[in-house]
C-alpha cells in the first residue's frame, strides 16, 4: 500500500467525521457508508486539487450531502412527501472526540470477532473495504457482505450513540482491547501469500490503540496493551530471516530490536504497573519488557518472567499461560521441572494436541537428551500447526535432533 501524503490525515479524520454525522443524524449504518464515500472522493480530489484548508469540514460536508441524497432517495422510494433532512452547513465541530464511542459501537457484543475487526478497521481505521479484504486475503465482496451484515446487526440491536455506563462500559472496553489485539496479531502472524500491497495491520492496531490511550490515559490495561504491542513490534525485523524462516527469541539478533519502541513500551509498562489493579495485558507487557531488558538471551531474568506468569495464571487462568510458565520454569529449575508442570496440562482438552504444547515438550525433551522423544514431538507439532513458517521451523528442529541420534550426542542433565 503506497502511503499518500494526506493518507494519515484522512484516516485520523475518518472517525471524527463519522462521529459528527452519527450525532446529527443517528443511523450509524447510513452515516458509515456516506463517510466511506466522502473518503473515496477525497482520495480522488485531494491529490489533484490539493488538501482543502479545512479538511475535516470538507469531509463532513461531502459526507452529509451523500447521506442526505441517500435519505431523500429512500424517502422518494417510499413515496413519502417531505424529507426530514435539512441542508447541513459545514461548521467546525467542537473538539469532542467520538473515536471511543465509535470503537465501542464497532465492538458490539452481538458481532463475531471477525465482524468487529472488519468494522473497526473501516469505521475507525478509515481503511477501504478493498484494503481490509486484501489484509485478510478474502474477496472484496466477502468483506463487503461481512461489514454490511455487521452494520445491520448493530442497527437491529438498537444501540444508541453513546458510551455505555458502569460495568457494561468496562466489559465493552475489554472487547475493544481484544479486537485491537486481534488486529495486531493478524498483522503479526500473517503467513499467507506475499505481503505486498497488504495494509500493515500491526501498525494500524498500534495507531488505533494510541488513540484509545490518548482518550483513557489512566486505564492500566489500555496502557498495558499499547506497551505490549510496541515491545512486540520492536522485534519485528529480528523474528524472521530474509527467507521468511522464524527465528526463536533466544536466537534473535537483539541489536536489530527497535530501541525507540522498546524505550517507549518500557516506560508505559512502568507507569501502568504503578496503578491500582493489574490486568493481563499489563502483565504480558511486563514480561515482554523483561525480555527486552536482556542484552543477550542468557541475561534474561527468568525468575521475574516466571513470577509474572504465576500472577497472570492466577488472575487470568488459561492453559496457554501455564504453557508459557513451563518455559520460564524450565529455565530456572531445569527441563525436568518444566516437563513435570507440562504434564499437568495433558488432561486439558483446550490445549491437548495443540502444536505449541507439542513443540514445548519437544524442546524440553531435547534438553534432557531424549532425542527420540524430541524428534517425535517436533514432527507431531509440525503436523499440527497451520502456520507455514512455524512448520518449516519445527521440521528443521526435527531434522536437527535426528542427526544427533545414533551419534554420541551429549546428554544435558537438568
Amino acid at each position: 500500500m503506497t502511503a499518500l501524503p494526506f493518507e494519515d490525515l484522512l484516516r485520523e479524520l475518518t472517525p471524527q467525521v463519522l462521529g459528527t454525522l452519527v450525532r446529527r443524524h443517528g443511523q450509524f449504518e447510513g452515516c458509515e457508508d456516506a463517510v466511506q464515500e466522502a473518503v473515496l472522493a477525497a482520495t480522488v480530489q485531494w491529490p489533484a486539487e490539493g488538501v482543502p484548508d479545512n479538511p475535516r469540514g470538507w469531509l463532513t460536508t461531502v459526507a452529509s450531502r451523500r447521506l442526505i441524497d441517500q435519505m431523500r432517495s429512500d424517502h422518494a422510494r417510499r413515496e413519502r412527501e417531505s424529507a426530514t433532512a435539512t441542508e447541513v452547513v459545514p461548521e467546525d465541530v467542537p473538539d469532542t472526540d467520538d473515536t471511543l464511542v465509535l470503537l465501542f459501537l464497532c465492538c458490539h457484543p452481538t458481532l463475531t470477532a471477525a465482524s468487529q475487526t472488519a468494522l473497526t478497521l473501516r469505521a475507525v481505521g478509515g481503511l477501504t473495504t478493498a484494503e481490509i479484504a486484501r489484509a485478510f486475503l478474502v474477496p472484496e465482496a466477502t468483506m463487503a457482505a461481512r461489514i454490511s451484515r455487521a452494520k445491520q446487526r448493530i442497527k437491529a440491536a438498537g444501540s444508541s450513540f453513546s458510551l455505555p455506563e458502569g460495568a457494561e462500559r468496562e466489559e465493552r472496553l475489554r472487547v475493544v482491547l481484544h479486537v485491537l489485539y486481534l488486529i495486531f496479531n493478524e498483522g503479526y502472524t500473517a503467513s499467507s501469500g506475499s505481503a505486498l500491497h497488504r495494509p500493515d495491520l500491526a501498525r494500524e492496531a498500534i495507531r488505533l490503540t494510541r488513540m484509545v490511550h490518548a482518550q483513557l490515559p489512566e486505564d492500566g490495561e489500555v496502557t498495558g496493551l499499547l506497551a505490549l504491542m510496541l515491545l512486540t513490534h520492536a522485534r519485528r525485523d529480528a523474528r524472521t530471516t530474509a527467507a521468511g524462516d522464524l527465528v526463536p527469541l533466544d536466537e534473535q539478533d537483539r541489536t536489530t530490536w527497535d530501541r525507540e519502541l522498546i524505550d517507549e513500551g518500557t516506560e508505559l509498562v512502568k507507569a501502568s504497573l504503578a496503578g491500582p489493579a493489574l490486568g493481563p495485558y499489563q502483565l504480558q507487557a511486563a514480561i515482554a519488557a523483561t525480555h527486552a531488558d536482556a542484552a543477550t538471551a542468557e541475561e534474561t531474568d527468568w525468575r521475574q518472567v516466571h513470577a509474572l506468569y504465576l500472577i497472570l495464571e492466577r488472575i487470568a487462568p488459561n492453559p496457554m499461560v501455564t504453557l508459557n510458565r513451563v518455559i520460564a520454569l524450565a529455565e530456572t529449575e531445569g527441563p525436568r521441572a518444566g516437563l513435570a508442570l507440562l504434564s499437568t496440562l495433558d488432561g486439558d482438552e483446550r490445549i491437548a494436541g495443540h502444536h505449541r504444547l507439542l513443540s514445548v515438550r519437544a524442546h524440553l525433551l531435547e534438553r534432557t537428551g531424549d532425542t527420540a522423544g524430541a524428534y517425535e514431538h517436533y514432527r507431531r507439532a509440525a503436523k499440527a500447526t497451520a502456520g507455514l513458517a512455524e512448520q518449516r521451523y519445527l521440521e528443521s528442529r526435527a531434522t536437527r535432533v535426528r542427526s544427533l541420534r545414533g551419534s554420541d550426542a551429549p546428554t544435558i542433565a537438568p
Binding site: 463475531t112 471477525a114 486475503l137 466477502t142 468483506m143 457482505a145 499467507s192 506475499s194 497451520a386
Partner: protein
C-alpha cells in the same frame, strides 16, 4: 480462518438418487451459497466434472506422460469444494453440516484448514 470443505462423492450413490433427490441437493446448495454470501463467509465454491474425465500427468525422463484418470482407485471422488473464511473450526463444522451432501449415506464432507494462500481471489 480459512477452511476448505471438500465434498467426496460416490458416483454409484449419485446414480441411484431419484431426480427429486438430485433436485433437492441442488436447491440445498443454492440456499447454502446464498447464506454464505450474505454472512460474508464465502470465498469461492467450485464443482468438478466426473472423475472419468480426469487426466493424470506425470513426468518420466523429463517427458510428460498423460493417462486417463482418476489417479486413485476409490469409491469416492472429490466432487467439489467450498472455500470459506469463518470464525473458527467449530463454525466451519457447523457450516459443513448444512451442506446437503452431509446427509447422504456413502458421501463424505471434509473440513480442512487452509495453511497457505496466494493468487487472485476476485475471479
Amino acid at each position: 480462518m480459512k477452511f476448505l470443505i471438500g465434498m467426496h462423492i460416490n458416483p454409484a450413490v449419485l446414480d441411484a438418487l431419484t431426480d427429486e433427490e438430485k433436485a433437492a441437493i441442488g436447491d440445498g446448495h443454492g440456499r447454502f451459497i446464498e447464506a454464505l454470501k450474505e454472512s460474508g463467509e464465502m470465498i469461492t465454491t467450485q464443482a468438478l466434472v466426473d472423475p472419468s474425465q480426469a487426466a493424470v500427468v506425470s513426468v518420466r525422463d523429463g517427458r510428460p506422460v498423460v493417462t486417463d484418470g482418476p489417479f486413485l482407485e476409490a469409491k469416492e471422488y472429490l466432487g467439489g469444494f467450498y472455500l470459506i473464511d469463518c470464525e473458527n473450526k467449530e463454525r466451519a463444522i457447523e457450516l459443513a453440516a448444512r451442506i446437503p451432501d452431509a446427509a447422504i449415506k456413502g458421501w463424505g464432507v471434509e473440513v480442512r484448514q487452509v495453511m497457505f494462500a496466494d493468487g487472485q481471489l476476485e475471479a
